[in-house]
């Protein structure tokens, strides 16, 4: 490089900061500053004490919060039960089909989220194929419905965030040294024992990342509840959206957003303590 040694050393020291500057500035201005603006809005109830928004948020919409976290938790557990075996089969058993199966897992990403959820509405509709099928095998009574039920909402949430569970688990399974599994099988003899003592512990970072990437968006989601559920399944996302864009009670809406984020942050921190890993990226 041109210039004296000292100048180029300084250039070298500055280089990483110059490289990160545009992107990090963007994140500061349009991610961090908005959160500050949100905090300010949440305490700016005119003529009321600053905590008014929060009192109303928790007092009026406590059930919505609880319901959202309950649905998100069930959807996360279901995603794990559905996703882990699939990730395992792709990583260990698919052979040459591996890339094809991975492609199929991310295929839903290429059709719009909303259009997919509308497709579920069609599938689950009264007189639709799913209702008919379940009535034939007497799992659903005559006149029973799937649409506008808790089952439909949780099913939709599970569906929409399932790939976010599968992919991190697949990545952590893929990294496992196959010789470890073989060695374990030589020593423990049963495949199940090898899975329980070797494969599963090594895949926990994937389970950790996957469950966060499923739980967090699911708890804030409102599309599934709105399209597949009735007002009885309304989640906190609907309330926030409605208060912000329709009612325009900004302090309340901002307080709701903040409470949602605070609960999730505390939950994530506790979960990180338990499963302890920083391998989210």
């Amino acid at each position: 490089m041109a210039g004296t040694g000292a100048a180029s050393a300084r250039q070298y020291r500055l280089a990483p900061y110059l490289l990160i500057a545009p992107g990090i500035l963007w994140l500061l201005v349009f991610f961090v500053v908005p959160l500050v603006a949100l905090a300010q809005t949440s305490v700016a109830s005119s003529g009321e004490p600053w905590w008014d928004g929060y009192v109303r948020a928790l007092g009026t919409y406590g059930t919505h919060f609880l319901r959202s976290f309950r649905y998100a938790l069930i959807a996360t557990v279901l995603s794990l039960l559905l996703g882990y075996p699939l990730a395992y089969v792709i990583a260990f058993r698919a052979g040459r089909l591996k890339n094809l199966l991975l492609g199929l897992v991310i295929l839903p990403f290429f059709t719009t989220f909303l259009v997919r959820t509308f497709a579920w509405k069609t599938i689950l509709s009264d007189g639709g194929p799913a209702v008919w099928l379940l009535q034939q095998v007497h799992l659903l009574s005559e006149g029973g419905r799937l649409l506008d039920t808790t089952l439909a909402v949780i099913g939709g949430l599970t569906y929409n965030f399932l790939p976010f569970m599968i992919l991190p688990i697949y990545v952590s399974l893929e990294k496992i040294d196959r010789r470890l599994v073989e060695a374990a099988q030589d020593l423990y003899s049963t495949p199940l024992g090898a899975f329980r003592r070797v494969v599963m512990p090594l895949s926990l970072p994937g389970v950790f990342a996957g469950s966060l990437l499923t739980f967090i968006p699911a708890s804030g989601d409102f599309i599934n509840a709105e399209l597949l559920g009735s007002p009885n399944q309304q989640m906190i996302g609907t309330v926030i959206q409605n208060q912000f864009l329709e009612v325009r009670d900004y302090p309340l809406a901002a307080a709701l957003s903040f409470v949602l984020m605070a609960i999730i942050t505390v939950g994530v921190m506790a979960y990180t303590k338990v499963l302890g890993t920083e391998d989210l990226g």
Partner: protein, 271 residues
């Protein structure tokens, strides 16, 4: 695996069922693009027809929404790719003070619910009396794409041998030439993958866009509004077209990457 054969069969079958679950709505979307609905809403199957495919641009508002979505996706991807790749390069290439907080700042937008991201941006825009529209949508999309791009490119760059750059410089290559002939080819596949991801995320985004779009309509926002007024099969036609296009692009990229990989390893083995 003796004795576990039946268990393994059941496992494979279970995995196929899960794939079927992932696939089902997509089949429905494609199928209903060939429907001739009885009324305004394409939610109940009536009869097979090619009408919607013969006239995909029948609804100008839908076309406008699609064009807006593509413009937003193109611009936000372009900017996010530059910002994100530079961050990834800095994180992999240099040890610098503050790299920990930078990594954290990249992950945080991904672990924040979209409704919080959207509403906080709206709070900011309201504070500054900013007019919502094309600009605010693009700003929001760049924000969430930068993280995805930086993390994707960083994952691809991990473990890369940076002494190659020094070797090229020692051999007398100018900095720009080093970048063009050594650095860029190595990071190009990661950037291509990140660009596709950012483009797809932007095209698909509904929640954050709802908060930042004002009165503008992107394709997902049009679809959302369509549940009240009319839901024509053209929505499914466009969704199917997006799916097919992305599959083509994805296939082409995979072929291209395998070819460049083969060329490069071939070059290393037979210099």
């Amino acid at each position: 695996m003796r004795g576990g054969r039946l268990g393994v069969r059941i496992l494979d079958g279970y995995a196929m069922l899960v794939l079927g679950y992932l696939f089902l709505p997509i089949l429905v979307i494609i199928l209903y693009s060939f429907n001739k609905p009885a009324g305004k809403f394409n939610f109940v199957w009536k009869s097979f027809s090619l009408d919607a495919w013969a006239d995909p641009f029948r609804y100008p508002a839908l076309v406008d929404a699609m064009v807006l979505s593509l413009r937003v996706a193109a611009l936000s991807t372009l900017v996010a790719i530059i910002f994100g790749a530079l961050i990834a390069l800095a994180l992999c290439r240099y040890n610098f003070r503050g790299s920990g907080p930078v990594s954290l700042l990249l992950v945080l937008p991904l672990t924040t619910p979209e409704v919080v991201l959207g509403s906080s941006l709206l709070a900011l825009f309201l504070d500054f009396n900013a007019r919502s529209g094309f600009g605010t949508i693009v700003i929001a999309h760049i924000m969430f794409s930068v993280s995805y791009v930086a993390l994707t490119v960083r994952a691809r760059l991990r473990g890369f041998d940076w002494t190659l750059e020094e070797a090229a410089m020692d051999l007398g290559a100018a900095p720009f030439r080093v970048f063009r002939t050594v650095t860029l080819p190595l990071i190009a596949p990661g950037i291509a993958a990140a660009a596709m991801l950012a483009f797809a995320l932007s095209l698909d985004d509904f929640v954050i866009t709802l908060f930042t779009a004002g009165s503008k309509l992107t394709y997902p926002l049009y679809v959302y509004g369509a549940r009240r007024a009319a839901f024509p099969p053209q929505i499914n036609v466009l969704a199917t077209a997006i799916l097919m296009t992305s599959l083509l692009v994805l296939g082409a990229t995979v072929v291209w990457q395998q070819r460049t990989l083969r060329q490069r390893t071939g070059g290393l083995l037979h210099p």
